[in-house]
């Protein structure tokens, strides 16, 4: 089990820093031109709000140490693996094309979500091939999208 507290602190810190970056960058765009607001007006206020609420949440999480509970390690691993599979699909598509790349993507995702034995993997593979054909028909033929 992984405690969620560290994730919350991390997300609050990232959002807080993003807020500060918005204020800094927004000021660079120009806050006001004469008496009317400029391109940086809205970002400065949003950044301030984001930084303020992120700081408040950061402090709150620090004070309430065990309030958030935890998440199963396998679930986090699953999120990471699906994301990696998708990144692999994005990279592979340039070389072997989207339709071909989608087959290993689907088989990988099936395995990540529990297809472990030979029968399940065979079923997922069949679904993947069938689905690739359907995707070709829908996106390539009906919608005429130029697939990679």
């Amino acid at each position: 089990m992984i405690p969620l507290r560290s994730f919350d602190l991390g997300l609050s810190a990232i959002f807080g820093l993003l807020g500060l970056y918005m204020i800094w960058q927004g000021s660079g765009y120009g806050y006001q031109e004469g008496s009317v607001p400029s391109a940086g007006f809205f970002p400065v206020w949003i950044g301030a709000g984001l930084a303020l609420f992120s700081a408040l949440n950061f402090l709150k999480v620090i004070r309430q140490s065990d309030f958030l509970g935890s998440v199963e390690r396998m679930e986090v691993v699953r999120v990471g693996l699906v994301s990696l599979a998708l990144v692999g699909f994005v990279l592979l598509s340039d070389f072997i094309g989207m339709l071909v790349a989608s087959v290993p993507l689907m088989i990988a995702i099936g395995c990540i979500f529990g297809a472990r034995d030979a029968r399940s993997i065979a079923a997922v593979s069949a679904i993947a091939v069938g689905m690739a054909f359907i995707l070709y028909l829908v996106f390539g033929v009906v919608l005429a999208i130029p697939l990679l």
């Binding site: 994730f7 997300l11 391109a39 970002p43 992120s54 994301s83 598509s93 993507l105 099936g110 999208i145």
Partner: protein, 508 residues
């Protein structure tokens, strides 16, 4: 009022065109399956299909997305009744009595009743939507840019009710959405903002990328792989799945009360279908002659929440269509769909795109009626679908997501962005950050920024202009009350709790 019904009749004729009819049927069937399949709800379903649907003609696209929404409300009851797992949050109350009925060999009676309740709730919701939407939109036409800006501020303040348990996190989510809304070229002077040196961000981030990541991928990530495995006592014979007409007719009171409660709760931004089902269930139990049957397999316990959640779906559409305020996650995604096809929801939509609006409303009537037949025919298949494992379902859904997102702008960069937003959505879900305020901020932020800046340019920077319009002033005052009230209630509840503690100690 009569004009509305005349326009609706024209809308029904327009919605009967083959292309729109096909979109309704496809959307309704997909929605049914999305509702029945464990791990996907209406918001995720509409979000996943958004990039695919917008590739079609505008009217057909929204008719299909709407059909996915109300189709999922029908389908959600299937997993709730047969598996005891609500397909989406609004089917939670259906589990209580519906699953008990299924376990007592009355799965068909419960499923049949849920279909009838969904239809009646949907029909009453639609009739009220037709009656109210134009009236509200006509009243809102009096709104100028100042009033509309105040209305946008009010809409954003809805995070206090849409934001779940932690207002602080809701505000963070809202501001993160507002930030995403600023990415791209500045709407007034054309200066690129927050593009991080990436030319592909000049047009901003496509709405469907956020919706698919936050609602679609995140929901799948959080689904345990064990879901969908059938238990021995969750298998049914076909005969058990046939509807029970007599039992349905006996619940007329709960069907009526559930539909009305659902609609009016649905209109309230943030309240949504789930709250409507809870209130209608509680009302049905309180007014029942046999309240002891509730929780032990009462037919009325299925009728009331099922009528309510379908009626609420249409109630929810009133603020979106008439005012341009999405009151729930699903309507926020639907509103994103309208924006993607170049339409701005709000009072002017009824003036400038009257034919479109009434065709969509007509398509809702057709879809609601068609769903009765489709659901009855597909119930045995849907019952089987409830046991589809994520290892078979999710690969196909994720592939559709990848191809759908690529198809919007023929860009793999956007597929990469979806991966990031999927992880962000998962983190937000686990850490109890509500995603709806983020979507709200992303949709309404640019409109608000344009409104504020244009008004201030016109008034030469005089902020007092926002307080000179009585309508804007009232809206802004309501906004302040809405924002301050959660803190006030929280402090008051805290003080009462502190006062109660010594008394409790004394009693103890």
């Amino acid at each position: 009022m009569l004009e509305s019904w005349h326009l609706l009749a024209e809308g029904l004729v327009a919605a009967s065109q083959p292309s729109v009819l096909a979109a309704i049927m496809v959307g309704a069937i997909i929605g049914l399956f999305i509702g029945a399949l464990p791990g996907l709800g209406p918001t995720a379903g509409v979000a996943i299909l958004l990039p695919v649907a917008v590739s079609f003609d505008g009217t057909a696209a929204i008719a299909a997305l709407g059909a996915v929404y109300y189709g999922a409300q029908y389908g959600g009851a299937v997993t709730a009744i047969l598996l005891g797992i609500p397909g989406d949050a609004s089917a939670t109350m259906t589990v209580i009595d519906g699953h008990k009925l299924a376990r007592n060999g009355k799965a068909g009676a419960a499923l049949g009743l849920s279909i009838a309740a969904s239809f009646i709730g949907g029909l009453i919701g639609l009739i009220l939507l037709t009656a109210f939407a134009t009236t509200i939109a006509q009243a809102a036409i009096a709104f100028g840019p100042i009033e509309m800006t105040a209305l946008m501020i009010f809409s954003l303040s809805l995070v206090s009710v849409l934001g779940g348990r932690d207002l602080n996190k809701a505000m963070m989510s809202l501001f993160a959405g507002l930030f995403i809304g600023t990415i791209g070229l500045d709407p007034m002077v054309g200066l690129p903002r927050f593009d991080f040196g990436e030319v592909r961000l000049f047009d901003g981030i496509e709405f469907s990328i956020i919706a698919v990541g936050l609602f679609g991928l995140a929901e799948m990530y959080a689904t345990p792989p064990s879901i969908g495995k059938p238990e021995e006592n969750n298998r049914f014979r076909f005969r058990e799945l046939l509807p029970d007409v007599r039992g349905t007719l006996q619940c007329w009171r709960e069907l009526g009360s559930g539909s009305l409660i659902g609609f009016f709760i649905g209109i309230l931004p943030g309240a949504g279908a789930t709250a409507a089902t809870m209130i209608s269930y509680a009302f049905a139990k309180r007014t029942s002659k046999h309240p002891e049957r509730f929780g032990n397999g009462a037919m009325e316990g299925v009728a009331a929440p099922e009528a309510a959640n379908n009626s609420a779906a249409y109630g929810n559409m009133i603020p979106m269509f008439a005012l341009g305020i999405p009151g729930s996650g699903t309507t926020a995604v639907l509103m994103g769909g309208l924006l993607m096809i170049g339409l701005q929801p709000g009072p002017m939509l009824f003036q400038t795109q009257s034919e479109f609006v009434w065709t969509i409303f007509g398509s809702f009537y057709i879809g609601n009626l068609a769903l009765v037949a489709i659901t009855i025919v597909l119930t045995p298949v849907l019952a089987t679908c409830a046991f589809v494992r994520p290892s078979y379902l999710f690969p196909a859904v994720i592939a559709i997501i990848a191809f759908g997102i690529f198809g919007i702008n023929n860009s793999m960069f956007e597929v990469a962005l979806v991966i990031g937003f999927g992880v962000l959505g998962y983190l937000m879900m686990k850490l109890d950050y509500p995603p709806v305020p983020l979507v709200l901020g992303m949709i309404l932020g640019p409109i608000l920024e344009r409104g504020i800046r244009r008004t201030l340019v016109a008034s030469d920077g005089d902020v007092a202009v926002f307080f000179q319009s009585p309508i804007a002033l009232v809206i802004l005052l309501i906004t302040v009350v809405l924002l301050v009230s959660p803190w006030l209630f929280k402090n008051r509840a805290g003080k009462e709790h502190q006062m109660d503690e010594p008394q409790a100690k004394k009693i103890g």
